[in-house]
């Protein structure tokens, strides 16, 4: 049953008072694949993310996460920090949320909080500096160092995160999420505000994360060059409803998607496409 899908969302709805942000949304994300969630502004993409990562409690619907060992977790029954701690779902934010007054290295150390807490026996033994905690801390620093090296920030490890350039902050936030060793990584517009070269580097980073760590990735993105290049599967949302679902090539040719993006009728979109080809 655990099969190839890591996340299956079934009939997810989210209402804020009278406003329906997501209406009966169902989709799946494949294991070790990159699934992109796209759609025009206000389509409800970030709301879906907030439901998956426990920041919102969905009005109805089920979200099942299956781990490699076959364990199934119902995300809508967990809340808050437990999604990251138990279900191993990590996320980044549309507007970067690093700890600006802490160094890049410290940011990655905070991400390993739960591992280190256990190693320090919930602070009691750590206070006296037992060797087992020291070893765990060294391991945590090594993991952080390897991620800093990977995103090209090893030189700036001891600089405040708030002092880093924008692109570096974006990559650091992804590295921080990866330091929690997630099964599913949710990225909210990772390429926003990046230039073409930085976007290309980001695509490479995400592909290497998938290849080296076997982490499944769920991605919200507006930058179509990134989406089309790296995603294995694309889900398109408009006004809280799924309008298309398929491979990047299928999505590219789907008149409904083009209509949603251009804000035009379907017939017009088809006409535009036909005249273009």
């Amino acid at each position: 049953m655990s099969g190839t899908e890591i996340l299956s969302v079934d009939g997810l709805s989210m209402r804020f008072g009278g406003i329906v942000a997501i209406n009966d949304l169902s989709f799946t994300a494949e294991r070790r694949k990159i699934t992109a969630l796209i759609g025009p502004n206000g389509a409800g993409k970030t709301t879906v993310f907030n439901c998956i990562t426990g920041f919102y409690k969905p009005s109805s619907g089920a979200m099942r996460l299956s781990h490699d060992d076959g364990q199934q977790i119902r995300l809508e029954r967990l809340n808050d920090f437990r999604i990251s701690k138990l279900a191993k779902v990590a996320r980044t934010f549309q507007n970067i949320r690093l700890f600006p007054g802490m160094t890049a290295l410290e940011n990655l150390m905070v991400a390993q909080h739960n591992v280190l807490m256990r190693a320090s026996f919930y602070t009691v033994l750590g206070l006296f500096g037992v060797p087992s905690y020291r070893a765990a801390e060294r391991q945590a620093i090594d993991l952080a160092r390897s991620w800093l090296d990977r995103i090209g920030l090893l030189e700036r490890a001891d600089d405040a995160a708030g002092n880093l350039p924008y692109g570096d902050q974006r990559r650091l936030e992804i590295a921080r999420a990866m330091c929690t060793e997630p099964a599913l990584l949710c990225l909210d517009e990772p390429a926003a505000g990046l230039n073409a070269r930085e976007s290309a580097a980001l695509s490479e980073l995400l592909l290497s994360i998938r290849a080296d760590h076997g982490t499944s990735i769920l991605l919200i993105e507006h930058d179509m060059s990134v989406v089309m290049e790296i995603s294995d599967h694309v889900v398109v949302l408009d006004h809280g409803v799924k309008i298309a679902d398929g491979s990047p090539q299928q999505i590219r040719d789907n008149p409904k998607v083009i209509a949603a993006y251009l804000g035009a009728d379907e017939e017009e979109a088809i006409a535009v496409m036909e005249s273009g080809t």
Partner: protein
């Protein structure tokens, strides 16, 4: 020190017209304020009627002082404060300053250890030293909650009171010794810290501050009104003095002086108290420094920086906040037990809001999160206040002025920058502009 974007054209700040305008406004405000406070003096006449006379000369002098002072302050600001100016300090001076800064803490510590030796005959200085160290300890305790976790606590004195009353009541009713009561006082205070923590967990910022303020008042009012237990406004007296680990510091045959075969002096007890509070304060400091480098301490600071990101990283923000409250409260409890044993008498009057405000002022003035800064601030606030004793009724005025100037010069406290808890190559201090104050 340098700002990111210097504007060469504005390097000297605004011009004379701006300064004069500002001074004029200040003078006008002063005129309105002082016209009744100083301009007219009222007194009860011989027959009980109200007599008044005007003092326009004094009023004019005050307004002139405000006008002149405002110009001077504005000029000083342009020289000292970083108003879009890039100040270039020679590298040699910077190195010397860095060495001085590194030496400051050890020198202060050694000096503190030597205070009872140097000032052995001066009871006043020893008492003042004990008072300063008590506030250093309280400041370090509150620093965990406010400085590290970023939770604004206006009711810290409640835990100080819990610690003091725990020791006083356990010692007078059950005859427990100071050393048995000290951990109990800490545990009880931490318990109340958790109890306060639970209802306020969902509150942030100003709302949190108001609830903690109320909590401080509740504890004080309960102490006043629960007469049968706490003696109400009469307080608890006859609290046992501390013993040197069981050996009393008294002139009798079983006293420490007799045992060591030296002449008894009441100063022995003061010196003992001095080293006792020094040890307690250093314990607080040691534990805080250790905690900062542990995952829990990093989680506190991360919580101050961004709570939402903490939750996304799987950090249980509830327990993280509760441990911050409990740890801070525990140190407050220790300090309270010490206070009770030093005074020998405690009453609710010692635990008013003013104490909370004073300790909070020490933490803010010191630079939130900085251990050395808090110690320096306690020294300035408590010691400095004593220093102005010769100025009689102008003491508060001068002290207030000093505080205002300090906050203009150092808006983020004496030591505003943050030292990283872990580093790969070099540990750079992090500028205070980047470090968040927390939202409660």
């Amino acid at each position: 020190m340098a700002t990111d974007t210097p504007h060469p054209t504005h390097a000297r700040g605004p011009g004379i017209a701006f300064i004069l305008k500002k001074a004029l406004i200040s003078a006008l405000v002063a005129l309105v304020l002082f016209s009744l406070m100083i301009g007219i003096r009222t007194e009860a006449g011989p027959a009980g009627q109200l007599v008044y006379w005007t003092r326009f000369n004094e009023l004019a002098a005050c307004v002139a002082i405000v006008f002149g002072g405002s110009i001077i302050v504005e000029l000083l600001r342009q020289w000292f404060a970083p108003v879009d100016t890039v100040r270039i300090v020679p590298a040699s001076t910077q190195r010397a300053l860095a060495v001085l800064r590194r030496l400051l803490a050890p020198v202060l510590l050694i000096f503190t250890f030597l205070v009872p030796v140097i000032f052995y005959d001066q009871r006043y200085i020893l008492d003042l030293g004990i008072l300063v160290l008590t506030y250093v300890m309280l400041g370090w305790g509150l620093n965990v909650v406010v400085g590290l976790a970023g939770l604004l606590d206006l009711g810290y004195v409640a835990f100080y009171a819990v610690g003091a009353y725990s020791y006083a009541l356990l010692a007078t009713n059950f005859g427990l010794s100071f050393w048995e009561c000290l951990p109990l006082a800490g545990i009880l205070a931490a318990f109340w810290g958790v109890l306060l923590g639970f209802p306020v967990l969902r509150l942030r910022g100003d709302y949190l501050a108001i609830v903690t303020l109320a909590f401080g008042e509740i504890i004080r009012l309960v102490i006043i009104n629960w007469q049968s237990l706490t003696g109400g406004p009469n307080g608890v007296s006859g609290i046992p003095r501390p013993s040197f680990f069981g050996i009393p510091l008294t002139p009798g045959d079983d006293g420490l002086a007799h045992m060591l075969d030296i002449e008894f002096s009441p100063t022995h007890r003061i010196v003992f108290l001095f080293y006792l509070i020094l040890a307690l304060a250093l314990l607080t400091n040691w534990v805080t420094i250790r905690l900062r480098r542990l995952p829990i301490g990093r989680a506190w600071e991360a919580l101050r920086e961004d709570e939402v990101a903490c939750r996304a990283l799987g950090i249980n923000t509830t327990t993280t906040k509760l441990t911050a409250f409990a740890t801070g409260a525990m140190f407050g409890g220790f300090a309270g037990a010490f206070f009770a044993t030093r005074q020998g008498f405690i009453s609710p009057e010692s635990f008013t809001f003013q104490e909370s405000a004073l300790v909070l002022a020490i933490v803010v003035l010191g630079g939130m999160g900085s251990q050395l800064g808090v110690a320096l601030a306690a020294l300035t606030m408590i010691g400095g206040f004593e220093l102005f004793r010769g100025l009689d009724q102008y003491r508060m005025l001068v002290f207030g002025l000093a505080m205002v100037l300090l906050m203009i010069w150092r808006p983020r406290g004496l030591i505003g920058h943050r030292a990283p808890t872990v580093f790969l190559q070099h540990s750079h201090a992090i500028s205070s502009d980047l470090v968040k104050e927390g939202h409660g």
